[in-house]
């Protein structure tokens, strides 16, 4: 039996974080499953639980110039209703879980859960999203890539709360998302892909390519992207086999109950090829 805290203000939550070790619970859709017990028995939480679901400050979305500031405890359903959210992120969210789970699950939860198959993550990596971590002593900003260290492992400190996700917008004019799963609802990704690009009439100006569920963390290779940037659209088609070959050693999936490494790798590279082929259309 553990203590639970239900603060309505962020300050209050940060004060609790500063004074004792807690487990943060936003939507609970992952935590309640991971820590589930036999039917009728208490879920197994070994530390006091700090609920974030009543803190309105964490549920706001603002646009500031070319950046969206998204509160970490906003639910996936609310993100789908929000005009400011880029369509490609909405596409990813629509394929996550089910309506009932999306009504509880939060963006911050998907990040802090740090699953290799977290479906908002490829988008956040591809856009170079920045996370805001607050504590009583101040605030830290870091890229999502620096924040997630491995499955379930993040850089969050015991006195911190992830409060905001800052997403640059309008930086791309081509966007593609693909999730491969066993069924449409409630399926964890076998693999996922986000490709974003800014393409002018003549060439690729910028590109972000991310693969989910094919490694301990999301796979993004900026050094390969650098080789694509600046390529003329007329030359791109000829370069695609070489690009795919460069990505080939970076995709290192595992066999597990959801899929096989061979399948994951083959399909990831085919989707990459498909995406690159759409850039000059």
């Amino acid at each position: 039996m553990v203590n639970t805290y239900h603060p309505k203000e962020l300050e209050e939550a940060l004060a609790i974080r500063a004074r004792e070790k807690t487990i943060l619970l936003a939507g609970g859709t992952d935590l309640m499953v991971k820590r589930k017990n036999w039917s009728g028995l208490l879920p197994e939480f070994q530390l006091p639980v700090l609920f974030l679901n009543e803190i309105e400050e964490l549920k706001k979305i603002n646009r500031k110039e070319q950046f969206l500031k998204v509160g970490a405890a906003i639910t996936l359903s609310d993100l789908l209703r929000e005009e400011l959210i880029p369509e490609v992120l909405k596409e990813a969210i629509r394929e996550m879980a089910s309506p009932a789970i999306r009504n509880l699950a939060t963006l911050g939860g998907n990040i802090c859960n740090a699953s290799p198959a977290g479906d908002t993550l490829p988008f956040l990596y591809a856009t170079d999203a920045t996370l805001v971590l607050k504590s009583l002593t101040g605030e830290r900003k870091m890229s999502v890539d620096a924040f997630i260290h491995g499955p379930g492992k993040t850089a969050i400190r015991e006195d911190e709360i992830l409060t905001e996700v800052i997403i640059p917008i309008n930086t791309f004019n081509k966007a593609y998302f693909k999730k491969v799963g066993t069924r449409k609802a409630n399926a964890i990704s076998k693999l996922s892909f986000v490709g974003l690009a800014r393409v002018s009439e003549a060439k690729v100006e910028d590109i972000g390519i991310c693969f989910g569920a094919v490694g301990p963390t999301i796979v993004r290779r900026k050094e390969i992207e650098a080789k694509i940037i600046g390529t003329g659209l007329s030359e791109l088609a000829g370069l695609i086999p070489e690009i795919v070959r460069l990505y080939e050693p970076c995709i290192k999936p595992i066999d597990d109950q959801r899929s096989k490494a061979f399948y994951r790798k083959t399909v990831s590279l085919r989707i990459l090829e498909f995406f690159l082929n759409t850039l000059n259309q």
Binding site: L25, T29, M32, V33, K36, G40, P99, N186
Partner: protein, 158 residues
């Protein structure tokens, strides 16, 4: 942590003295005798425990009861008293959308959540709305049809 938790269940205020981390599902079934809400998988995959929380469809097996202080919970027992339920009930019967019945309370809550926002849904929208509710008997087509019929018949109710 033991605490008195008060919330609105089916339009009536209820208080339970219980551990705040207990699942809403267990409090409903074991403490309050609300057994229309079923436990299937206990991990949010099957939707048998679906209820409406402040009008939104949720899985009651994923909700620690301490987090719903003051909130409104609607289960099939409360929904049963509405005219909208009568329309859905008749439509489910007509389409043959109930076989063993275990998924039905959750299905009806999902249907109510959908029709409230979208009284005349397309087939694809219905399939999406019930995508978190598993039915191992019907093959879903009859349920989709039932919700369509209810949408047509329930003109103005939703």
């Amino acid at each position: 942590m033991e605490k008195e938790i008060t919330f609105i269940l089916n339009n009536q205020s209820v208080s339970v003295q219980t551990d705040t981390m207990r699942r809403l599902l267990d409090v409903l079934r074991d403490d309050l005798g609300i057994t229309g809400t079923k436990e299937g998988c206990g991990e949010g995959e099957c939707g048998a425990c679906s209820v409406l929380l402040n009008g939104k469809l949720v899985n009651s097996c994923l909700i620690p009861v301490g987090s719903i202080e003051g909130d409104e919970v609607l289960t099939i027992e409360g929904f049963k008293l509405t005219k909208r339920f009568t329309v859905l009930e008749a439509a489910f019967a007509e389409a043959g959308a109930v076989q063993c019945g275990f998924c039905t309370p959750g299905m009806l809550m999902a249907a109510e959540a959908l029709l409230t926002h979208n009284p005349k849904p397309e087939e694809a929208e219905i399939r999406d709305a019930i995508s978190g509710n598993l039915c191992r008997c019907t093959g879903y087509n009859m349920i989709v049809e039932a919700i369509q019929i209810a949408g047509q018949r329930g003109d103005g109710l939703w």
